[in-house]
């Protein structure tokens, strides 16, 4: 049953990811991206990380996709049917992509990935929170400084010019 769900959710994620880059209309590619985010949240649920799944939906679907859509609307030619989707270099790019695919498959199948033994602990969320202010406190604080800098930058850019 889990195998079937994994195949379905991965298919949804991969197909919508492919459609993001091949759709003609920019707005629709943003919506396919939203579907890909939902698929990733499904994969998190299959990995027993339900907090990450819900946080994924809250942050990515609720905020980041809105940001992407606003940025798309500020650009020109959003739904222009005249724009070509592929330019003339698609042959070379396809060749490089095939080389990359062979490389990735070779790496993934030959490396001995270390697997953590045991089940997911029942108080995973508490341990996540404790880790944030324990061993991983420095990345946490650096991320919050980055967010404050982004907020200050946004306020300065969007401020009314007082002349």
């Amino acid at each position: 049953m889990q195998q079937v769900m994994f195949i379905v959710i991965s298919a949804v994620t991969l197909i919508s990811g492919a459609l993001v880059v091949t759709t003609r209309s920019l707005f629709r590619s943003a919506l396919w991206l939203v579907l890909a985010f939902f698929g990733i949240a499904g994969l998190f649920v299959l990995l027993n990380a339900e907090f990450l799944a819900v946080a994924q939906i809250l942050i990515y679907v609720g905020a980041i996709s809105i940001l992407i859509i606003f940025a798309i609307m500020l650009s020109r030619g959003v739904m222009d049917p005249e724009t070509r989707r592929f330019n003339d270099q698609w042959g070379v790019v396809a060749g490089f992509t095939a080389v990359l695919l062979v490389l990735l498959v070779a790496i993934l199948t030959r490396v001995q990935w270390p697997l953590a033994a045991g089940a997911v602990p029942a108080d995973a969320i508490q341990r996540l929170g404790a880790d944030f202010v324990g061993p991983y406190v420095i990345p946490f604080e650096v991320a919050s400084v980055l967010l404050v800098a982004a907020m200050i930058g946004a306020i300065i850019i969007a401020r009314e010019r007082e002349n």
């Binding site: 209309s25 707005f27 629709r28 919506l31 939203v34 339900e50 907090f51 819900v54 946080a55 939906i57 809250l58 679907v61 609720g62 905020a63 996709s65 809105i66 859509i69 609307m73 739904m79 969320i125």
Partner: protein
Amino acid sequence: MDYVLDFFVNLGRSWTTWLGTFLPEWGVTIINYLVGGIILVLMPVIATLTLTWMERKVIGRIQNRLGPNRVGPWGIFQAIADAVKMLIKEDIIPDAADRPVFNLAPILIAGAAALVWAVMPFGKGVIGVDLNVGVLYLVAVGSITTVSVIMAGWGSNNKFALIGAFRGVAQLLSYEVPMILSIATVVLLAGSMSTMRIVEAQQIPFIFVLPVAFIAYFLASAAEVGRAPFDLLEADSEIVAGYFIEYSGLKFGWFYIAEYGNLFAVSAITATLFLGGWRGPFSHQAPVLGPLYFIIKTVLVVFVMMWIRGTWPRFRIDQMLGFAWKVLVPASLANLLWVAIVLKIALPTIVQWALMLGGNLLILVIAAGMLGRAAKRHAEQRNLAPLSSGAA
């Protein structure tokens, strides 16, 4: 008699056992999930049918008139008449509209309104699925509404719809922050994000321990749902139905169902988080009374929201956003900080709760004082008549 005392849970068990006599394991699971799904989808529809009638009666009485009273006794069939009217209207799609996006937006928003009911604790053991991250799931599903608002505004190919959608998204995103902060305060106090455990942790309802969190959550969720006084997006005198201006017939019906389903859902969440959910007199001996208390508390909160709608004037968009960021967010942050500090002090629980209540009242007094002074300054700047001069 014991069967009746815990009726809903026992009914569920008997149903599952009866199904298990002639269906394999996976069949029983699928049928149970289907029944649960149907109940989920029915909740916003039932909410719409009953709450639209209640709203028109309540607001009618506030405005000193009767409200609908012709279609059935006390007008209770008015909602069905409205539903029939909506169903038989012509379905108009604008010529240059983006059809898949246009058609998908009402489905997505109604879906988000239905999904919220999966984690509502109706009674002891009567819940769709007891997620570990119940309240975070509620907020996340609410944020799906934001994407569908933009889809509706964009897909209509209408400048006013797009502006309405932008304003709607600004309001929804701004009010998510105080909502999440006040929910986080309750989660700190209850020690778990699961809605069942939050209800079970309320020996006294949390409204008496954290009034600031209650007020912040109440106002923020009223803004999230788009209720007056935050209904700038859909007020007829403002932007003529905002982002769903181009929708007619059943698609507009889905937006309507989503709005009233969301209203019922946020009232239910308020009742769960702050009023004690399904707890009440004799609810431990007779768990069957749980859903009754839950519905009563939810309807009470709905009534207060309708009362506010009929009484307060509407906010402008800049006043609305300023209120969110300058008043609700600092108050909720201060509340969260104070609760976190108090919980670290090793005192008996009652003393901790009394300290939290004291801190909350202090925050309320400070916030009200600052708002009063800001209002006085604003009135003096604009040379408006001061309130203390009395009737001239």
